[in-house]
Symmetry: C2
Subunit: 362 residues, 2 copies
């Protein structure tokens, strides 16, 4: 009855069910009501099941002009934050039959050089996270694909939607926590990365400290590695008077700050407090465990994919409270979703020492 070759096609299913190829498509896409008799519909489903039929995605893409594939652009996947982001994105995508292709952008983003490097051209949309300030412009080179930005400047909006984490609130919680403990001399171990998310951290820290009437924080930029965080923290701790708390842009930097403190014979948190950002698994692997801001990375990825699906008009996506607004994005400013964050208070923060020891110099 069936030729035993490779994958069955809709033609094979049609033959097995005794219907036309068109009927197979209508039934399996659930568009058959009033167009195919219930009996034939059931026959199609049975035949499809028995043959193990799965539609050829290439053929469908060609016909529909859509690929059910989204591109996720992140700075680096080896960072656990982005791995979590991806997990959320991929989960929601899978729920809607979408695939996610990753583009870890080491530095610049541009169109493919060779015209045949086009595996990535088969896209319905792009989700980009934590990009450098001017990166979105480059992303537009990829045609007129719908773009959703994550953790990025909301104004700079070629994006159809933006999903942000409440970074500013997180930083304010860090500062409030440290001020509550009695700290007055904060230093900032700042990620030396040109992106909106780190700009916000720096600006918010400075504002919050100023609002409290304290001296501006000593700032030391650092690459996003433990080793460079250690170096930057060593410099910060060499200042006179020495800061009593190191506010770090990231848990990796906080780990480096802890190493720096111990290298100078200072105890964390008794002699110096350290805070992180992200709440990676690293935060609770360290000792003492890090006081840090938990960022809901997976939720952000999921929300970003939902926003993209809504822009694409994919059914069942973007339902917020039952108000069917799928695809309603033409005109008007792009919508911005901001996810709340929470401070996780752990062992790396404590009141400042009563009589701070003076550093060796001068």
């Amino acid at each position: 009855m069936t030729t035993d070759r490779s994958r069955p096609t809709s033609r094979d299913v049609a033959r097995a069910a005794g219907v036309s190829q068109a009927a197979v498509s209508l039934v399996l896409r659930d568009k058959w009501r009033g167009r195919v008799s219930p009996g034939k519909a059931e026959a199609v489903r049975a035949a499809a099941r028995e043959l193990g039929y799965r539609p050829n995605p290439a053929a469908r893409s060609l016909r529909l002009g859509r690929t059910r594939t989204a591109l996720l652009v992140v700075p680096a996947l080896t960072n656990e934050f982005f791995a979590r982001l991806h997990a959320g994105t991929a989960r929601v995508a899978a729920e809607h039959g979408f695939g996610v292709v990753l583009y870890p952008s080491p530095e610049g983003i541009g169109p493919a050089r060779d015209p045949f490097d086009s595996a990535s051209a088969a896209l319905d949309g792009v989700i980009a996270s934590s990009m450098a300030s001017e990166a979105p412009a480059a992303l537009r080179a990829d045609g007129d694909l719908p773009l959703v930005m994550l953790d990025s400047e909301p104004e700079r909006t070629q994006a159809a939607a933006t999903v942000n984490l409440d970074i500013a609130d997180g930083m304010r919680q860090v500062v409030a926590h440290l001020l509550d403990l009695g700290h007055r001399r904060l230093a900032h171990i700042a990620a030396a990365v040109d992106s909106w998310t780190f700009e916000v951290r720096a600006r918010t820290l400075a504002e919050a400290v100023r609002a409290a009437g304290c001296a501006p924080p000593l700032t030391r930029p650092s690459a996003l590695t433990v080793a460079d965080g250690t170096r930057a923290a060593l410099e910060a701790l060499a200042a006179d008077p020495r800061p009593t708390a190191l506010v770090c842009d990231d848990d990796l930097l906080a780990a480096g700050a802890c190493k720096a403190a111990r290298r100078l014979g200072l105890r964390v948190p008794e002699d110096v407090s350290v805070t992180g950002f992200d709440d990676l698994s690293l935060a609770t692997a360290l000792e003492p465990e890090l006081t840090t801001v938990r960022l809901p990375a997976e939720e952000a990825g999921a929300a970003g994919m939902r926003a993209l699906l809504a822009v694409l008009g994919v059914e069942g996506a973007g339902d917020r409270g039952g108000v069917g607004t799928g695809g309603d994005v033409s005109g008007g400013p792009a919508e911005v979703t901001t996810l709340p964050v929470a401070l996780a208070v752990r062992g790396s923060t404590a009141p400042p020492p009563r009589t701070p020891a003076r550093p060796g110099g001068r």
Copy 2:
């Protein structure tokens, strides 16, 4: 001249260059020598460049029956080891115009339930890493796609190729290092994960210890988290006589072991040595830094993708020393590549204490 609609097609390029559509394809696929005159070839290239032509991948896939997409199946991408593996895979894939789709398999692997959940059906091959012993069988459900296994039992071979890390050698190096330092009572904090890679670690540790004439290692299984590693290590350190070294299957577990030791008032490495496996960034974020086995995850991913490309007969792939063996895999046992690993000796190991303190009990 050109209609200003969406993307240009090969037809548009043909019109602009004054040639047939077929000539465009031949030129851009570099199969034109002796079939198209050099002048026309150049005209095609110029027109393609000017129009920004990029071939439609869906059309190409439909025609060729191949998609230039590989599936990477890993247990969890939030583990840095697999993130690195992915980076290597994606890099090599991109060099050959391939895309990589990720399948983080929380548990089981099976065919899509719904026939229209078929985004993942557009695949040329599968790379699966560190699977449970019986998982490959399930993978075959996906049709007759070429399969490359990473970090997996080489015998169980439905796989066209296997790329392994020399896990056994790594474990032997750990044991030799600890024996050299004078340790005789080792405990094993073992990952409670049913996979070949952890079986090998357990077996090799037991063998190496026996070969040295020591008592069999006390073994405590643990989930692959810092918290559970702490619990397991607390149990191991409660034994009498107490082990002087904790051999951990993973850096996360080693971090947990360090926390357990300190919770008991024991210093690492003075009172107890701890070793890890993987050399994640966590290994040098901790203090003391972990002695651990560096696994070349990115290289493994890259080698796996190269092996898959060779099986697929993709030109330029799989060149090993210039012997063009691409695609030469029919018959014979699947080939196994084993990548060397290296012990990174750092601060978490030292000679055992002279007079080991007895634990409280009894």
